[in-house]
C-alpha cells in the first residue's frame, strides 16, 4: 500500500502517530488500556463500593452467570453475578472493576514519581558531572543491585502494609533505572551545537536542561516508562498477593488471587478472572512499549 504524498512535512507528533499506528498490536494494546482506564474511572457507576466489599455469605462461590438474591440495604434484590461470587459471596466482576482502579493508579503514580525523581537526578548527574554525578550514579548502582521486587518487599515489610507505603516502595525501587537512562541521554545531547548555542545566548542552566536537553532525551524514557507501568502493576499484585499490599476487603487483583488460593478446587472462577485481568493489562502495556520503541527510536527501526 503506498501512502499518499503529503504536501506538507509532518510535525513530529504526526510523524510519531503515523509510525505508531502502523503497529496494529500496539494500537490494540492502547485500546485495551483506554478501556481499562475508562472502566476504572467509572467503577462506581457499575458497582457501588459498599456492595463489593460487603459479605453476601449465602451466595458464596456462586458460579459464573448465576442470578441470586442479595441482601442490599435491608431489601432483597435479585442480582446477576456475571463472573460469579467469591468466598464471601462478593461479586467477582465488581471487585475486579474496583481493583482496576487501584492498579491503574499504582501504575501511573509510581512511574510518574520515578520519572520525575529519577529524571531530575539523572539530568543533574549528566549535565554537571563531577562529584555530584559520582554520588548520584553510585547510589543508583547500589539500588539497582537489589532486585526490584525484593527491595519493594523489604520496604513494605519494614514500613507496614498500606496503600501509601505500597506506592512509596514501588516508586522508590523504580527510580534508579530512570537516573541511568536520563543521564546517558543527557551525556549524548549536552555537547551538541544547539546546547552550545543556547549557552552562547546566555540561557541559564535550568532553562537549557528543561527546554533544550530534556526534550531530546524523552524517547527512551517514554518507552521505559510504559514498560515500567507494567512492572509496577505486577509488583503491586505480587505484594498484595503476599498480603503486603492492598488489604482486604478492599479489592485488588493480587489480593483477590490470594483469597482465591484455598478454593482452587471448589471455585476456579475466582482464580481465573483476576489473573486474566492482570495478564491482559501487562500484555497491553508491553505491546504499547514495543510499539513506542519502534516508533520513537530511529536506531532500532527496521
Amino acid at each position: 500500500m503506498s501512502s499518499p504524498v503529503k504536501p506538507h512535512p509532518r510535525t513530529p507528533w504526526q510523524e510519531f502517530w503515523y509510525r505508531f499506528r502502523k503497529n496494529k498490536l500496539a494500537v490494540g494494546g492502547m485500546g485495551v488500556i483506554l478501556l481499562y482506564v475508562s472502566i476504572a474511572l467509572c467503577a462506581d457507576l457499575f458497582y457501588s463500593w459498599d456492595f463489593i466489599v460487603g459479605n453476601q455469605i449465602p451466595n458464596a462461590f456462586a458460579p459464573v452467570g448465576t442470578k441470586a438474591v442479595v441482601d442490599w440495604g435491608g431489601k432483597k434484590v435479585e442480582h446477576l453475578y456475571i463472573l460469579g461470587a467469591d468466598n464471601f459471596g462478593r461479586d467477582v466482576l465488581g471487585r475486579m472493576i474496583h481493583g482496576a482502579r487501584v492498579s491503574m493508579i499504582i501504575g501511573f503514580v509510581t512511574i510518574a514519581f520515578a520519572v520525575l525523581v529519577g529524571g531530575s537526578l539523572g539530568a543533574i548527574a549528566g549535565f554537571y558531572g563531577g562529584v555530584l554525578e559520582t554520588i548520584i550514579m553510585r547510589g543508583a548502582d547500589i539500588l539497582l543491585a537489589i532486585p526490584n521486587m525484593l527491595f519493594a518487599l523489604a520496604i513494605v515489610a519494614a514500613m507496614g502494609p498500606s496503600f501509601q507505603n505500597l506506592l512509596l516502595a514501588i516508586g522508590i525501587t523504580s527510580v534508579p533505572i530512570y537516573v541511568r537512562l536520563v543521564r546517558a541521554s543527557v551525556l549524548t545531547v549536552k555537547d551538541q551545537e544547539f546546547v552550545e548555542a543556547a549557552k552562547a545566548l546566555g540561557a541559564r542552566d535550568g532553562r537549557i536542561i528543561v527546554r533544550h536537553v530534556l526534550p531530546n532525551c524523552m524517547a527512551p524514557v517514554i518507552v521505559q516508562a510504559t514498560l515500567g507501568i507494567a512492572q509496577s502493576i505486577l509488583s503491586a499484585t505480587f505484594l498484595s498477593f503476599l498480603g503486603l499490599g492492598i488489604q482486604p476487603p478492599a479489592p485488588e487483583w493480587g489480593n483477590m488471587l490470594s483469597e482465591a488460593r484455598p478454593y482452587i478446587i471448589s471455585a476456579p472462577h475466582t482464580l481465573i478472572f483476576p489473573g486474566l485481568a492482570i495478564m491482559t493489562v501487562i500484555l497491553a502495556y508491553n505491546l504499547i512499549g514495543d510499539g513506542l520503541r519502534d516508533a520513537l527510536d530511529p536506531k532500532l527501526r527496521r
Binding site: R138, G139, A140, D141, I142, L143, L144, A145, I146, P147, N148, M149, L150, F151, L153, A154, I155, A157, A158, M159, G160, P176, I177, R180, Q224, L227, A230, L234, T237, F238, F241, L242, G243, L244, G254, L257, A260, R261, I264, I265, P268, L271, I272, P274, G275, I278, M279, T280, I282, L283, N286, L287
Partner: protein, 359 residues
C-alpha cells in the same frame, strides 16, 4: 616456529594479566554494593514503626521492662552503633541477644522459633538452589531452540506462535500461572501433587515450570532478536555463498555469535529466578528461602526478615559478579576490550550488575 610461540605466550601473559586485573576490579566493586545493600536494609528496619522489644514482651509489660529489654538487645544505641553491631556483631549485657554480625553469618535468633536465623536460611537454601537450577535448565532447553527456530523461520506460523507465547509469558504473573497449573494438573488431571517437597522429583515439575516461564519467555525473545540480527550480517551471506549447508551456517556461524547476548540475559535471569522463587515457593508451599521470608514477614520476625533479604540481595550480587566474569571469558571481544582498557579508567563500574532484564 620458536619465535611464533614466544609471541603467543607473550600475548597470553598480557591477556592473563588483564583478566586478573579485571577479576580483581570486579570483586573490589562488590564491596560498596554489599555495604550499600546492608545499609539500606538496616535503615529500613531501623526506621520501621513498631518496637521489637515491646513485641517480644507480654502486652501488659511496663515501660521500664521494655526499656530494660531494649538495653539488653542494644536497641537503645545510636543508628551507627547499631549498624556496626549488625555488621560486626553484638555483645550485650546478657548472652541471649548476642550475635557475631553479618560477616560471620550470624544475625541472632528468630523471635518466633528462637533458632539462629542464618541456620534456618542455610538449611533451606539448597532447596531453593535445586528449584532454581531445574527451572534454569528448563528455560535454557526450551528458549534457545525455540528462539532459533523462530528466527530462522521469521514470519512463519511457528514464529507467530512462539512470539505470541513469549509475549504472554512475560505478561503472566508467576503466582497466577502456578495456581493455574495446580488447577489443571493437580486438581483436574491429578498428574502432579500440588504441594512441592524437594525429596519428591515429581512434585518439583510444576514449581519449576512456573518459575521457568518468565525466564523462558525473556530468553526466547532475546535469542530470536539476536539471531535475526546476526543472520543479517555479511559473514552469514559469505558462508552461504561458499555453499555451506544451511544447518552448518546456523550452527557454526550464526548461533555462536547470537548466543553472546543471550548469555548475559541468562545470567540476569539467574538472579531473577532466586527472587521469583519467593512467589513460586509460596504458591506451592515449597520449603525454600522464599517461604522463610514470607513467613517471617507475616510474623513480624525482624531478624529473620533482615537476614533473608540481605542474604538474597548478596546472592544476587555474587551471582551477577560470576556471570559478569564468565561473560568476559566467553566473548573474546570483551577480553580484548579489557586488554586495551587496562591503562584507561573504566567507566560505568557496575555495568552488568545494573543491567536489568527489560522484556
Amino acid at each position: 616456529m620458536n619465535r611464533g610461540q614466544a609471541g603467543c605466550s607473550l600475548i597470553d601473559f598480557e591477556q592473563r594479566g588483564a583478566m586478573l586485573r579485571y577479576l580483581f576490579h570486579r570483586i573490589l566493586q562488590l564491596i560498596p554494593v554489599i555495604l550499600g545493600v546492608t545499609l539500606i536494609v538496616f535503615t529500613l528496619t531501623y526506621i520501621a514503626p513498631g518496637d521489637p522489644a515491646r513485641l517480644l514482651l507480654p502486652q501488659d509489660a511496663s515501660d521500664e521492662d521494655v526499656a530494660q529489654l531494649k538495653h539488653a538487645m542494644g536497641l537503645d544505641r545510636s543508628f551507627f552503633v547499631q549498624y556496626y553491631h549488625f555488621l560486626f556483631g553484638y555483645d550485650g549485657p546478657g548472652d541471649s541477644f548476642d550475635y557475631k554480625g553479618l560477616f560471620a553469618l550470624d544475625l541472632g535468633r528468630s523471635y518466633v522459633s528462637n533458632r539462629p536465623v542464618f541456620g534456618t536460611i542455610l538449611e533451606r537454601f539448597p532447596n531453593t538452589v535445586l528449584l532454581s537450577t531445574v527451572a534454569l535448565c528448563l528455560s535454557i532447553l526450551v528458549s534457545i531452540p525455540f528462539g532459533i527456530i523462530s528466527a530462522t523461520r521469521q514470519y512463519s506460523k511457528t514464529d507467530m506462535v512462539v512470539t505470541v507465547l513469549a509475549l504472554v509469558g512475560i505478561s503472566m504473573p508467576a503466582f497466577w500461572l502456578g495456581m493455574l497449573l495446580i488447577w489443571i494438573f493437580s486438581v483436574q488431571l491429578r498428574l502432579f501433587p500440588s504441594l512441592a517437597v524437594p525429596s519428591n522429583p515429581l512434585s518439583i515439575v510444576l514449581p519449576a515450570i512456573t518459575l521457568a516461564a518468565m525466564s523462558t519467555a525473556v530468553q526466547t525473545r532475546m535469542t530470536r532478536s539476536s539471531m535475526l540480527e546476526v543472520m543479517r550480517q555479511d559473514y552469514i551471506r559469505t558462508a552461504r555463498a561458499k555453499g555451506l549447508d544451511e544447518k552448518v551456517v546456523i550452527r557454526k556461524h550464526a548461533l555462536r555469535n547470537a548466543l553472546i547476548p543471550v548469555v548475559t540475559v541468562v545470567g540476569i535471569q539467574v538472579g531473577q529466578l532466586l527472587v521469583g522463587a519467593v512467589l513460586t515457593e509460596t504458591v506451592f508451599s515449597y520449603p525454600g528461602i522464599g517461604t522463610i521470608m514470607v513467613d517471617a514477614i507475616n510474623r513480624k520476625d525482624t531478624p529473620q526478615i533482615l537476614a533473608s533479604v540481605v542474604f538474597m540481595a548478596l546472592i544476587f550480587a555474587v551471582v551477577n559478579l560470576i556471570v559478569d566474569i564468565l561473560y568476559a571469558f566467553i566473548d573474546p571481544r570483551i577480553k580484548a576490550q579489557y586488554i586495551q582498557a587496562g591503562k584507561k579508567k573504566k567507566r560505568g563500574l557496575f555495568h552488568v550488575i545494573s543491567r536489568k532484564a527489560t522484556p
